[in-house]
Symmetry: C2
Subunit: 218 residues, 2 copies
DNA sequence: GGGAAAGTAGGGAATTCTCCCAATTGTTCC
DNA sequence: GGAACAATTGGGAGAATTCCCTACTTTCCC
């Protein structure tokens, strides 16, 4: 039986090394290489063709989602096992459409990670139990699981306005920055709220940060 | 030579296990126990009296900062080595005043962590290099390193209101939640803006997230 | 050419936010 | 006890926002 060849992607060196140390205890798993950001992950995945990429979603610059899409486009056979800090349902639904082979949380224990890797290696789909039950709950309660990304329904102009809103600008400031009337800025904002289904302005900031539309340290 | 006895605190089991796996490779270090949140960390620290607590700052519920203060109060001899995801200068200044013995980032590599642990065990103070140079830059450029925390100037009630604001509640919603009038909620909010010097509501959300008053995945 | 979508602009009303102020309570300090 | 202060609680006025609308222009696609 051949070993499962893995590429470990996480921007935190300490976490990356720790996970690799955990994986090394298992004979059926071989860590091919590691990567610290999205770009490096894509390069190494395309070059080394691992069986599985263990992908941290929250990476600076080119994120895990973008890297997943790029790798899947270049080589659909490479399986992606998402390693995330968050169990945000919307976010998960979004990722599942990107044809990832599994989703596991950093809250999981080491044996869960090993199980996930083995399941994905066998060609199965792995979903960490707490997430799975949460999605099932949604399904049962008749709230259709949302798979389309509301953010992508925004026009370019609306995305631009959302960014400025999230950065703390008022409608008047946005109007000046974009050289449009205040009313127009308001109209865009109204459409944004409508399309995203997020009502108070403050909540939009959280959305923007979660989706990395703006940085918190700005 | 006796081993350095360590308590590892991190809410992410995978990260915790990974770090423990890394530490196990070193004979002079012994992992006494692990903890997944602030409360558990305090309990085990007081009970087991480790030489060093390797403390993740971002933990749900009772955070790492609160746990640090509690442990230092109960037993000042226990050394705290902060393990953080962030290199936010304001945040670091704040932590340094809490008498921690070291500050290292998750971006650091394993050998850095070992160096840090050994330095702290010897009674030295460890500051991860990129942070140290950043603080020195601030010092040299005459911008006095801020040690007072504007957030701490807020009253308990104001902190409560700030959290609700950041979570996306309107003044009316806050009034209902706290069982006060809308006017009072507004007054608190005014004082918060005044004390923190942050004007638009949206910017306060960013502040709250940066200071981990709220989590982005809530 | 016709239709759909995006960007632009505005009116008007209701709500919310921001900024000024005051009353009450409790604490601390002469 | 009384002065001084902080904390909490509110009011009023004006600015900014959100939420209803409608309308025009451009662009792109069939």
């Amino acid at each position: 039986m051949s070993k499962t060849r893995i590429l470990v992607a996480d921007d935190h060196a300490l976490v990356r090394e720790g996970i690799i140390a955990l994986l090394k205890c298992h004979d059926d798993i071989e860590v091919l290489a590691e990567a610290a950001d999205g770009r490096e992950t894509i390069e190494k995945a395309v070059k080394l063709r691992p069986d599985i990429v263990l992908m941290d979603i929250a990476m600076p610059g080119l994120g895990g989602l973008e890297a997943t899409l790029a790798i899947k486009k270049a080589n659909p056979d490479i399986k992606i096992l998402v390693l995330s800090q968050y169990d945000d349902k919307e976010y998960i639904s979004l990722l599942l459409t990107a044809k990832v082979s599994g989703y596991i949380l950093k809250h999981a224990v080491g044996t869960d990670l090993i199980s996930a890797i083995r399941a994905v290696a066998r060609g199965e789909f792995y979903l960490y139990s707490s997430i799975a039950s949460s999605l099932v709950d949604d399904y049962l309660s008749n709230k259709e699981v949302v798979v389309e990304d509301p953010y992508e329904r925004l026009t370019d102009r609306e995305k631009q306005v959302l960014k400025l809103i999230a950065e703390g600008n008022t409608h008047k400031e946005i109007a000046i920055l974009l050289n449009i009337s205040v009313k127009t800025a308001m109209a865009h904002f109204s459409n944004i709220q409508e399309k995203l289904g997020i009502r108070p302005r403050a909540s939009l900031v959280k959305f923007a940060i979660r989706r990395r539309i703006i940085q918190i340290d700005s």
